[in-house]
Each structure stands twice: as structure tokens, then as C-alpha cells.
């Protein structure tokens, strides 16, 4: 059962996710807009971020059980191996500990654009880490 296969999923998309993507895209340069792509049961947001000088291509995947399961964000642009980077260049954003049960993602509060903002902050940290070798923010307690 996917986001597009259930009434609740469609309602979530039409009333929350699509409007917030449209707001995000409004006034943005074309190459920095979110493109929404369907891949099987999943929806994938393809977009580009540029925290400083460097441009990164990313995709944020909304699984069929989204928003109960947090979105997963992957950097397509090659990165150096660094803290908080998982296999396949997936950003470690929401997990605290090693299980989904301790995820910091709150489906009642956050949208897919929030995941993009979290990715931006991760990339800003990466740029500083690239220079100094130290991740600039402490781990949350």
C-alpha cells in the first residue's frame, strides 16, 4: 500500500505535501526546484542545494508508509566519507541510537520540505567538516 494507493495517503499529499512543495518552488531558480518523481510505491523528491559555493544533487524518498516512516535523504553528488553519513550516501538525520523506534522524526509536525531543510543543515555541517575535520554540531542528547 503506497501513498498514492490509500485515501489517507492521497489526502496527505494533496493537503500537505504538494502545497508545501509548491511554496518551496515559488520564486526559486529552475535548477533548484523540487521535482517529484514516482518510483513504484514510493515518491522521490529530486532537488539541488547550494549552502555556500558547492552544489549538491539530492533525493528524498517518501516510502509507502510515509509519514509514519521518516523520509530518507541521499546525496547523489560524491562526498568524502564523514560522520553521519550512512551506506549509499544516505544522510543520518532522524535516528537516535540504532532503531527506528528512537527516530526523532515526528509525522504530526514535519513535512517533506522539513526534510530538505534538515538536509541543507547537514550539508552546511559537511562543508565545515571538510575544512576542519570536526563536525561542527554536537550530537543531540
Amino acid at each position: 500500500m503506497g501513498l498514492l494507493d490509500s485515501e489517507a495517503g492521497k489526502r496527505r499529499l494533496l493537503s500537505i505535501e504538494i502545497p508545501v512543495i509548491e511554496r518551496y518552488n515559488n520564486g526559486r531558480d529552475p535548477e533548484f526546484k523540487i521535482r517529484l518523481v514516482r518510483q513504484g510505491c514510493n515518491l522521490v523528491l529530486c532537488y539541488r542545494l547550494m549552502p555556500t559555493h558547492n552544489v549538491y544533487d539530492l533525493e528524498t524518498r517518501l516510502y509507502s508508509s510515509y509519514p509514519m516512516v521518516p523520509p530518507e535523504t541521499r546525496v547523489l553528488t560524491p562526498l568524502r566519507h564523514c560522520p553521519h553519513l550512512l551506506e549509499g550516501q544516505t544522510m543520518c538525520l532522524w535516528r537516535q541510537g540504532s532503531t527506528r523506534a528512537t527516530s526523532r522524526w515526528d509525522p504530526s509536525k514535519y513535512t517533506c520540505v522539513f526534510a530538505i531543510q534538515a538536509a541543507w543543515r547537514w550539508l552546511a555541517c559537511y562543508e565545515l567538516w571538510h575544512e576542519t575535520g570536526e563536525w561542527p554540531l554536537p550530537e543531540a542528547k
Binding site: 518551496y24 549552502p51 543543515r121
Partner: protein, 60 residues
């Protein structure tokens, strides 16, 4: 990708913004067109909400 490093001023500005985002809940602003870092703000208007990074509850 050819990584272009930050200069000292950029590095300090970005570091200060990230820390104040975590410690003081100060919003980081993204440029509307290009998503580039555009400073920080105590409060954000309704129009800015979508391009302002408030507290992000990431695990780092």
C-alpha cells in the same frame, strides 16, 4: 565535484549560524532563488517560513 573551500569569513559566519540555530533557536535563512546561506534571523515572517531553517531535531 571539485570542492571549493570556504574562506575564513564564510567559515566563521556559517559556524556561528549553525550554533545559534541549535543553541538559541535562531533561524538560518536560505536564499529564495538558489538556497544559498543568507544569514540568520530571530523571527521569520510567514513568507520566509519555507526558506528559514528553524530548529531541526536531527540527532547531531
Amino acid at each position: 565535484m571539485d570542492f571549493r573551500p570556504l574562506n575564513d569569513t564564510e567559515r566563521r559566519g556559517l559556524l556561528t549560524a549553525l550554533r545559534s540555530n541549535v543553541q538559541d533557536n535562531r533561524a538560518i535563512l536560505m536564499d529564495r532563488r538558489t538556497t544559498r546561506f543568507a544569514g540568520t534571523a530571530e523571527d521569520v515572517t510567514d513568507d520566509e517560513v519555507i526558506t528559514a531553517i528553524k530548529s531541526v531535531p536531527c540527532h547531531y
